[in-house]
């Protein structure tokens, strides 16, 4: 599996179609993760765009270390989420400038539908609101562990931290979340 992925990445360095394959494979996963982190569709779109553009820029520097490509994308996504909130009013990626325009009406309809879908998950939105008040280091591990259902080992690969550190971050994060979380649930 990993071998196939390694080959696909090597091909993606030479062939845009292979890069498109990688994109198709991981877009939903990365968009979903970012949405769970930011709980906002507009921001999730912007950060996802930034994440993949960054991945493309750094693709030729990527070196295979027996860690799934998705872990690298998650790491970029984490950085982009931090960057986004650091410069909230900073420039946003305007796909209109770099991609062919698609009918604005269709986009709007699709977006409204997605908004409606998101609103249906009130428990998630409330939980996410509480999680977003924690330090970034706790947000990352809690979302990856409970919303992305990642194993400790995977989280450690994504964040580039030791498994022990992840466990301890999770424990402390849950402790901090405990006090305020269920008052509103």
């Amino acid at each position: 599996m990993l071998k196939e992925e390694k080959e696909l990445i090597e091909r993606a360095k030479k062939d845009p179609k292979a890069f498109s394959e990688l994109y198709e494979k991981y877009y939903s996963q990365i968009f979903g993760y970012i949405l769970k982190r930011v709980a906002n569709l507009e921001i999730a779109q912007d950060v996802t765009s930034e994440t993949f553009l960054k991945a493309l820029k750094n693709l030729w520097q990527f070196q295979w270390r027996n860690i799934p490509f998705s872990s690298w994308l998650y790491r970029i996504a984490n950085n982009e989420i931090v960057n986004y909130f650091r410069k909230q009013k900073g420039k946003k990626v305007s796909l209109e400038k770099i991609a062919e325009p698609i009918s604005a009406d269709n986009i709007e309809i699709e977006f409204i539908e997605a908004q409606e879908e998101l609103k249906k998950h009130q428990d998630f939105l409330k939980a996410q609101e509480k999680i977003s008040k924690l330090d970034i280091k706790y947000q990352e591990v809690i979302v990856l562990r409970f919303f992305e259902k990642k194993q400790i080992k995977e989280i450690s690969e994504i964040l580039g931290k030791k498994e022990g550190t992840i466990k301890s971050l999770l424990h402390r994060g849950i402790e901090k979340l405990k006090d305020e979380f269920f008052e509103t649930l």
Binding site: E24, W60, Q61, F182
Partner: protein, 270 residues
Amino acid sequence: MKEEDLIKKLEEISLPKIEIKSHKERLNLALMKKYSPERKKAEVFNIFKKLVPAGVIAVLLFLFIFNNLNSQKYNLAKAKEIALQNNEIKNWLQQGSTIKDIKVVDGKAYVLIEPPEVKKEPEEPAPASLKSGVAFQENLTGEEKFGGALAEVNIKEKEVKNIKKLAPAANDLIKSKKDKALEIANKSQEVQEKIPREAEVLNINVATPKFRLSKEGNSVSAIPEIETEEKASIIYQFDENRCEGKVDLNKERMEEIKCLNEINTDATKE
């Protein structure tokens, strides 16, 4: 609430599974549009990355060589400047001596001072044809002549530590050259035929030995230069006649011998 309960609640939360297809498509198009320019940038960056270490090494090497050359030049100039402040050296240079060479070893500089080349006229004027054109540095008057010197200069302390005169060594060399020249001449058939045994040797002229600096390990010394053409002239006198014999010291043979009466006869014929 217990930690386990919170964990359970978090795990049970219904999560949104949303995908905005239009965004996915537009982003894909944007990435495809950017693929080629980004690839080109990466290629240029890779070439640059490979060239940087080589460039850095080249610059460091250049700086090292440049610095070494400069420091060497600086030390040589400094050593010369210090030497020129020494009264004795200053005096020799005013009389026509020159600084022939300077070598720097371990913060010490060795300055070789060479005496001026002097064309010496014999005490008693010999016939024009017997005068030798070779430069001589023979002490005929008995006064001590400057035969060169090796000065040791401490660059850090900015002083001339020691001056070694080369005259004794030069005189020994001159003496041995003269002995060799006379031996070659006396053994030659020409001298045996033309010069009677009772003839007096008026003068033997050899070139002043020249010195050069030689570096061996951490020490520098002045050693005689090997001449490619080393000649000597010997003036014999007997019965009111004078002869000059020319000896090739390198080839160890008599080159020619000319006597005054032969020259006068030749002149009368003309």
